[in-house]
Subunit: 528 residues, 2 copies
Amino acid sequence: MAFRLLSQGRIHAVVCRRSFHMGRAVRAEKKLTPLTSEKLGNIKRSERFKKIDQADLDYFRSVLTETNVLHDIETDPAKSSLTQYNLDFFNLHRGASSLCLLPTKTEQVSQILKYCNEKGLAVVPQGGNTGVSGGQNPVFDEIIVNMSKMNRIRSFDDLSGIAVVDGGVVLEALDGYLADFGYTVPLDLGAKGSCQLGGNISTNAGGLRLMRFGSLHGNVLGLEVVLPDGTIIDNLSTLRKDNTGYDLKQIFIGAEGTLGLVTGVSLLTPRRPTSVNVGLVALETFEDVQKAFLMAKEDLSEILSAFEFWDHDSVGVVRKKMMPEAAFPIESKTKFYALFETQGSRLDHDQEKLDGYLSRLMEAGVASDGVIAQDAKQMNSLWSWREKIPEAITRSGTAMTYDVAMEVPLLYKMVEDCKKHYGDRGLLDTVYTNVLGFGHVGDGNLHIMANIQGFDYKTQKDMDEFVYSWAMKHKGSITAEHGVGIAKVAYMHRIKSEPQLRLMRMIKDTLDPNGIMNPYKVVPEKQQ
Amino acid sequence: MAFRLLSQGRIHAVVCRRSFHMGRAVRAEKKLTPLTSEKLGNIKRSERFKKIDQADLDYFRSVLTETNVLHDIETDPAKSSLTQYNLDFFNLHRGASSLCLLPTKTEQVSQILKYCNEKGLAVVPQGGNTGVSGGQNPVFDEIIVNMSKMNRIRSFDDLSGIAVVDGGVVLEALDGYLADFGYTVPLDLGAKGSCQLGGNISTNAGGLRLMRFGSLHGNVLGLEVVLPDGTIIDNLSTLRKDNTGYDLKQIFIGAEGTLGLVTGVSLLTPRRPTSVNVGLVALETFEDVQKAFLMAKEDLSEILSAFEFWDHDSVGVVRKKMMPEAAFPIESKTKFYALFETQGSRLDHDQEKLDGYLSRLMEAGVASDGVIAQDAKQMNSLWSWREKIPEAITRSGTAMTYDVAMEVPLLYKMVEDCKKHYGDRGLLDTVYTNVLGFGHVGDGNLHIMANIQGFDYKTQKDMDEFVYSWAMKHKGSITAEHGVGIAKVAYMHRIKSEPQLRLMRMIKDTLDPNGIMNPYKVVPEKQQ
């Protein structure tokens, strides 16, 4: 074997990869998922919440401008102007709200929440609406507070690399802004073109470069949060170290909008790499994937910025649905592919490290084929085979999407066991199609996806149960980065101990005594 | 100018630097600081707390073995066997507890806290007793729960680098253990020979390599915590990503033992560097320190692991008190010195980067002299000039020690303003001696220290007020990494907004309704 260079002249490139922007047009052509409230028959609309009336609308119009109060009582989703807010990108969760508010200032968010808290109106915060657990969509008629119009970059210090931004700033927009100063964002997701910082923080987004830059719990220096009673907690520190009392911001990172609404973010950003390399290798077994990863940790060490894998079936789905004309850059048909990326400051050093790594992979017989991108376009192209998998699945039918974490050696066994499970019952490739796996090897994080046709909730629940039980049985997490939302709240009793749930409830009840913030989600009701 | 190599043959070394172990002998020779309760006349022992009686002792002896219940009613600190627990290393804070408990198991901690909670006995958790804010020492007669005997390394996975350890494991002991597997701890402090993981986490310790590895909020994957009512929260996840509900562990990181007691830690550890370099440069101005730092970020980038500075006066104090025979490695007498360290995976690459950096420093005329360590011994030697500063000050009189964070350009201005402030009043070099500054440039973190003779509390408070007011005026933090403890609780009203304090109180009251955990500290009483 040998590593092919995709073309001559390896360049010294700063990569701006393609990212998906929500393509609403795609969805309009196909049937919408049933209402979440219909699917989840066991959750009833809480009677403690008031329904919206004219006085409420008048109040919101007095706080916001008329154009930022979207009210629509149309119940046919094909006709409603609020469908884009009620429904998620993957067509998995759908609410029935008739009101979406678009605040432009923190003070407006404060006034909205204070009013809702006093009147008993339930609220669902929403960022770029790219979440897959339904956390950002209403379950019933909760008022949607969409943050898209709070999108100012408030300040940036190019000595320290600390940015202070509104919660509604789109991740890719911030990255573009930082590029001019030689900095970049410390997290990267396929959804970067649409997702917002406030949503990233509320879901504790991990993404493609967590192995390099660490989690948001470390990179977020401060938050501005509006509590359910309208209190503004201004904790927008721009200090790298500050141990004055409890680190209050941490509670809101990953709380999925159930404790307050993130309106401002102070973020530590790393220097933008001046040297980037991307390679792709073909691997026969998942053991080889692990070996290639360990060798990358050893040889690429401090410059390794991503190590992703996917299986052969993923390639087929992406080609069929997204890039019918494109040739996969590796001819060998192996069971697995791994993409690795380096980000460094010296191109010559990075290339030497990379050459050493590739030689070792070859000599050890771990990889059977491979390519190295020669320019930014080729890097984008290699990345696209990984990043387009979720959207390709969405275009192939009803998308079943999972996000589990576990010990690295077990990662792909779940996919194999899942196929066997449904194969034994004659359901594979008939009811459950396109069962495939990909993910972040470095984080022990697998995305297992599949399609079903139509919206049979029992069929969906059956796969949920398989995947979640398997993860729990193997001491994994049933949601590595996607969060609990509405999709996994019923499993919380099985994955958390009673003391953990009690502590979660204590925090929820303390911060949101009326329970108006994103109800029905994350924190399960007490079991009787 | 030229950079001297300290000797021939730069080596490929893994550094085990010297660290300070608590030298009790030093302290026995000199006068002890007055009791904290005497100094802080405005804080009274709360009457809600019961005093220890025979029944309590009997209970604790039934839970622990006899030898792990240290009871001593001797009030003369020179004679009391508990002085080493009542007093901190810097001789700044002294309590009057007559009881120290040494649990060996999490279940014992649970039994102790449950009992104390029911009986209304106040508790102060204690690790290696290296904190400088008095967080780990009693204020009055709180029962000390010292974690030194819970020091097992529970598990380590050398594929993922995840270690699970008891809260009482000493940082350096863990690092030594990890070395055999090619891993290291993601934080490093001068106190590493004595400080314990549970204490590191409870104070959110930052230390010397935060700029490389990030904060504990990112590196701690899970905690086992005993709540004040004895409930054990087992959240010892060994997953790199897990977004199942609120990230409960975060609340306890930096809570200084006021919300619960950390008994177990799951920590992500990075690979041990195989190439380490340490250099020291002489710099004329603090502007040059900043320039040298910025150039280090550019040229050393992903391998830069520490960038420390100190002023010329620091050198004098260290030489006088700690190393009278040693020659400072740089002859030029400049106002500032900066130490930089690289940690990487390829010695040749690291040296090339380093050579490029040093050339630029020379060409730009930023540094006037410099040396590069040639072996591990020399690295230790260079580091020792930085790390021995706090102990040298402690040996020079009553140590005034501060830990502030602010914008990097302002860092040393505080020291200059402080000298001018006391100089103008004729108090510099008479009452306030050895006023000096050093710190972590990369984190915007300054340690300003000074000596006074004796224990005049008014003299101490005067400098507190100067330093803290200055930091607040310049939007800095009055405690970057040392925490609030008892030393800074009186300032919390001035540095936190009322909503922030209310939120802190809500959390405290929710988790510790009887207020038994580390009372009087961190969370200030409501102002009337």
